[in-house]
């Protein structure tokens, strides 16, 4: 077996059991050896995550095992992303992203960031537990076209409304389009609080972001990135997302 093949097998095996340090190390070694980042993703990491998902599906794997596998994958993606995204193009728009006040869940938001960045958006990530006044300050400072709110709890999603009210009060509501998402959020809820759109996952967030840009009269066709790298990134994000959706499933 060549070293490249050993690396791929190692990446598959270590991701399967969530050994993040080993996965990051092997990914770096592969990159240094000049391996194709697409081969690292499609030949090892994504199949491994799919196997994790399958094992969870049949009741063999449990949530902690999914989380450590996803974490290992994210470590590798941090190294691969710069190689896959074309940094040369002009950003097609600016998005401020955040998890609302009282909420510290950020996996979903971070996946949206990766996908939006891959599609050519410039991302300003405010992190988690972001207060309405901080949202207002960030819109003033960064003047984005789009604003994304994430909430993972029914107890924190009312902050969508608080954020929107704070924006209106500051006279900024009409300067941005607002997208919302998160596990308990529904299109009806998004509508009822006065958001401009709802996305159930990261791919949908990209489609929504582009649609909102077009609604505002921007041309999103020139920027963006339809390269193989961007679509590989999409597949990788979807693999992680699928695991997260499965791990978050409640039992009735």
């Amino acid at each position: 077996m060549s070293r490249e093949e050993e690396i791929k097998k190692g990446l598959f095996d270590h991701t399967l059991v969530g050994e993040a340090d080993e996965v990051v190390e092997l990914t770096q070694e592969g990159i240094d050896l000049g391996m194709d980042p697409l081969d690292i993703l499609f030949g090892a990491l994504i199949p491994s995550l799919q196997e994790v998902g399958r094992l969870f599906e049949i009741g063999e794997y449990f949530v902690p095992e999914m989380l450590v596998a996803a974490r290992a994958m994210q470590g590798a993606m941090a190294l691969l992303r710069p190689l896959l995204v074309d940094k040369g193009a002009e950003p097609i728009g600016k998005v401020v992203m955040l998890t609302v006040k009282g909420d510290v869940h950020d996996i979903g938001k971070n996946l949206c960031n990766i996908m939006l960045e891959g599609e050519g958006f410039d991302i300003v990530d405010l992190g988690v537990n972001v207060k309405p006044e901080e949202v207002v300050a960030a819109v003033q400072e960064h003047q984005p076209q789009l604003l994304g709110f994430s909430a993972f709890l029914t107890t924190t999603m009312p902050f969508f409304k608080s954020n929107l009210a704070a924006l209106s009060e500051a006279g900024l509501r009409d300067s941005v389009k607002v997208m919302v998402g998160g596990a308990p959020v529904t299109p009806e809820y998004a509508d009822s609080v006065g958001a401009d759109g709802f996305a159930p996952d990261a791919s949908a967030a990209v489609r929504l972001a582009k649609k909102l840009m077009v609604d505002m009269g921007y041309d999103v066709s020139m920027g963006g990135d339809d390269s193989e790298g961007a679509s590989a990134l999409t597949t990788a994000v979807q693999a992680v997302e699928e695991l997260m959706v499965k791990s978050g499933k409640h039992d009735e």
Partner: protein, 289 residues
């Protein structure tokens, strides 16, 4: 220190020298599709069924939450759910919402001294929830986190709990009517989570002496043997000083472990409660066979 809550017909005492109080968690639409749909349709049949079943399984208090993902309807649904539970069973109710208007609506129809679930250490929460608790003469669950989120430091959680008790006193609510939630997070995401909770419970017992309750089912999220993990946690938490929990009495393992822990803590003379519970379960099994 004893916390006394009541319905029109029953009084429940939460306290370190009393049997552990089980607050039934099932009436909550989070993650329950059918219950969510029924609640949105103002259909309370599953609410009543869950109330009856949990009381049959020896819940002392029932938590009632109506947090459906529709904006603005929670107050009305919570009121209807509380009325339905009051008509179905005799136990006191823990009125559970993060929406102040819903808490008020629930309190306005409640007959007795309710447990309000909950308030966090955040100014706008404290200044809206505590006056309500005072107005209706209720007790309140104070959650040991503030607007910076949940700390992983037990000493910080104790500090926040202490401030909640002080703020309640400012509003004329005595310490015995504040039940602190030391916060139990899932060990799926952090294997240190239970240890932080247990240490917080010890610190609060030694330094504040107030009663405590917590959502004990979070701890096992995403794991196999969930009931066993919950039961093991509860038994450790009871030894550390937890005096009540919001949990699922329909799980035999949890229910039985709580009886056993009460006995081991010296709260069940001659194992009277444990033996009586055993007999009533055996009888129910025999009649259903």
């Amino acid at each position: 220190m004893n916390t006394v809550i009541s319905s029109a017909k029953q009084t429940v005492v939460i306290g370190p020298e009393h049997p552990f109080v089980i607050i039934g968690e099932r009436i909550n639409p989070t993650g329950r599709k059918i219950l969510t749909k029924q609640m949105i349709d103002r259909n309370m049949s599953m609410v009543c069924r869950d109330a009856r079943r949990q009381v049959d399984a020896h819940a002392h208090v029932l938590d009632v939450n109506a947090g459906v993902p529709v904006d603005g309807v929670e107050p009305e649904i919570l009121r209807q759910a509380i009325q339905a539970v009051q008509e179905t069973v005799d136990v006191p109710i823990s009125i559970d919402s993060s929406v102040v208007a819903a808490l008020e609506e629930g309190l306005s129809v409640y007959e007795g001294k309710a447990l309000v679930n909950s308030v966090t250490y955040e100014d706008e929460r404290l200044e809206t929830v505590l006056p309500l608790v005072k107005k209706y003469g209720a007790a309140v669950v104070g959650v040991a986190n503030d607007d910076t989120g949940i700390s992983n430091d037990p000493h910080e959680r104790l500090r926040i709990a202490t401030r909640i008790v002080e703020r309640a006193a400012d509003h004329g609510i005595p310490a015995e009517d504040v039940v602190i939630d030391p916060l139990a997070l899932t060990v799926s995401a952090d294997d240190n989570a239970a240890l932080v909770t247990l240490e917080t419970i010890r610190l609060i017992r030694e330094n504040l002496g107030v009663n405590m309750t917590c959502g004990a089912s979070n701890i096992s999220f995403g794991l196999p043997w969930r009931s066993t993990v919950n039961a093991a946690f509860l038994s450790m938490a009871i030894a550390a000083g937890l005096t009540s929990a919001i949990t699922n009495p329909l799980e035999a393992e949890i229910r039985h472990t709580i009886y056993a822990a009460d006995l081991l803590m010296g709260h069940d003379a001659y194992a009277g409660n444990l033996i009586q519970a055993f007999r009533s379960e055996r009888k129910r099994q025999q009649t259903s066979n």
